[in-house]
Amino acid sequence: MRFAGLFTGRRAPKTERLAGFQGMLNIRGIEIEETFAEAFPLACARVILTAEHPRLVQSAAAAATGNASSVIGCDAEAGVDRLLQPDETPDGRPGASLLFFGYSRPALEQSLVSRIGQGILPCPTTAAYNGLPVDPEKCLQVGSRIRFFGDGWQSSKLLEKRRFWRVPVMDGEFVVEEAFGSGKGVAGGNLILQGTSREITLQAAENAADAMTSVPGVILPFAHGIVRAGSKVGSRYPNLKASTNQAFCPSLRGQVVSELHPRAAVAYELVVDGLDLESVRQSMRLGMDAAAIPGIVRIGAGNYGGKLGPFLIHLKDLVGEGP
């Protein structure tokens, strides 16, 4: 085990040195806060989107996963898991794997119907397929609702126990699978990076976001994968479910009890959702390693004291497990 202060090239203040000798973790000299990310279960689904050209795939993916950063204010959390080569898709065309997370299966089903119906169906040449195993009792009826857009001219095909709906549209047919599998995903995995300048911290956050999204089955639902508006539960305004986390706002130092490192000028958060806990843990592990660059003074995580979710991802465990 390595200790903070020993790798920083400066003499640490007494309080930090004490903390270090009491077991403070670090990665390449960057302090890893002894805390945990608090993740919680959400219903999840995977949509395999295909189109004639990769640029159409990206447009449709952006439309379908837009305005889906957090279930606090959106109907779902969504993002592009990864782009797919033609040999990985059901119809042999370029595609993308999209992940969607919602509070419940009915809510997620409604989100998929509206997002595929409004984001993917209108985009030229697209098709949408299920990307998770289907349990008949837990599946989401998506294509079976979108088919009504066909106004009676739709038709279906059953292949390998999967039903595909063919909906006539102005450039031919939109093909969508009838049932989509759903699973119990894990949302709310997160890292909070604190750095001495915005440039350095943003660079570290981008490094981390790239590393985190490289894990299959996870998404970073916020724009660019990075959050500058970390939030706390509730507000002094009764109708607001979440509000700014003042403890991490550098401009409020001196006015509030700050949780920022004394040398931190900026903090960024990375939020990760995954199909399972291990994917989220792996993503956070890679993110921490990629973010540990000079100028970052602390890597921590957000939690709600263990009251929100059943999955507590301790950063010390991730460091202990290695990259």
């Binding site: 295909t50 119809d91 038709s155 095909k157 059953l158 292949l159 047919e173 093909v175």
Partner: protein
């Protein structure tokens, strides 16, 4: 694996509904030999016509010898593998619900008639009324897959309701007559009057354009991933069922859609080259 070897061929048909791997798997060989079959109008025992060897417990059954007059083999079966090394008679796999029948030879008429599920592979030719409805019945094949590497006879898939029939060779007249739904793919040359009176469903003739009935209307080139889905499905099927050289799957070019049959509902389609 249980092996039933035909002792000698006989022109009188042998109705042997008991030849199915799922029910035989729980019987010993002496019990299998005593199973009832009908030889013409005479009741008889299976052991009088077949030599029974091996063990049926693994759900695999092999028929050897000239079974061209053995009817109803594999009818109603729900699981297991029935392999026929040679020709097989009429009504093979009728009403089957699961498992695989593989005929290494020709199959007679009514192959897979009114079947519900499972897979039938015929490496030779098949007779008339493949996957069809029996006379007076409302629906034919209601699920499953039939793959014929040779040619098929008349009225292929007549009144079929669901499922997939693939014929690598040519077909007789009236393929897909009265089709209710489902998909028929003919890689060879289809017979005349395809899809007559079809209500829904798809008939795909990727390499030959048949002469269509005047009650079909051309909708122009079809821009859909649906043929690609089927093509990839056939590619997978080719590997899964080890269809080998007999299948000869060639790339499909742009297909033209013809809707019909407009003497009925008109929601069916024939896809073929322009």
């Amino acid at each position: 694996m249980l092996t039933l070897t035909r002792l000698k061929s006989h022109p009188v048909p042998l109705e042997s509904e008991c030849i199915r791997p799922d029910t035989l798997s729980s019987l010993d060989n002496s019990a299998i030999s005593r199973l009832t079959v009908w030889h013409g109008k005479n009741k008889a025992e299976l052991g009088e016509f077949f030599a029974v060897t091996g063990c049926a417990s693994d759900g695999e059954l092999v028929l050897k010898g000239d079974c061209s007059r053995v009817k109803l083999a594999g009818s109603g079966m729900t699981a297991g593998l029935l392999k026929v090394e040679g020709p097989i008679g009429m009504h093979t796999g009728t009403g089957m619900r699961g498992g695989i029948i593989r005929v290494e030879g020709d199959a007679d008429d009514w192959l897979g008639a009114e079947m519900f599920g499972g897979t039938i592979v015929v490496t030779g030719n098949a007779g008339h009324h493949v996957g069809a409805a029996y006379r007076g019945a409302l629906r034919g094949m209601r699920g499953g897959e039939i793959i014929i590497l040779g040619s098929a006879g008349d009225e292929l898939g007549s009144t079929m309701r669901r499922g997939l029939i693939v014929v690598a060779g040519d077909t007789g007249v009236f393929p897909g007559i009265n089709l209710l739904a489902g998909t028929v793919v003919v890689l060879g040359r289809p017979g005349v009057r395809p899809g007559a009176a079809m209500r829904r469903g798809s008939m795909v003739f990727p390499h030959y354009r048949p002469e269509l009935l005047p009650t079909f209307r051309c909708a122009g080139p079809l821009d859909s991933v649906f043929p690609a889905l089927y093509f990839r499905h056939l590619e997978k099927m080719e590997k899964r069922l080890e269809l080998g050289q007999g299948f000869k799957l060639k790339p499909w070019n742009q297909l033209t859609r013809h809707s019909g049959d407009h003497v009925t509902l008109g929601k069916g389609e024939i896809l073929c080259p322009a």
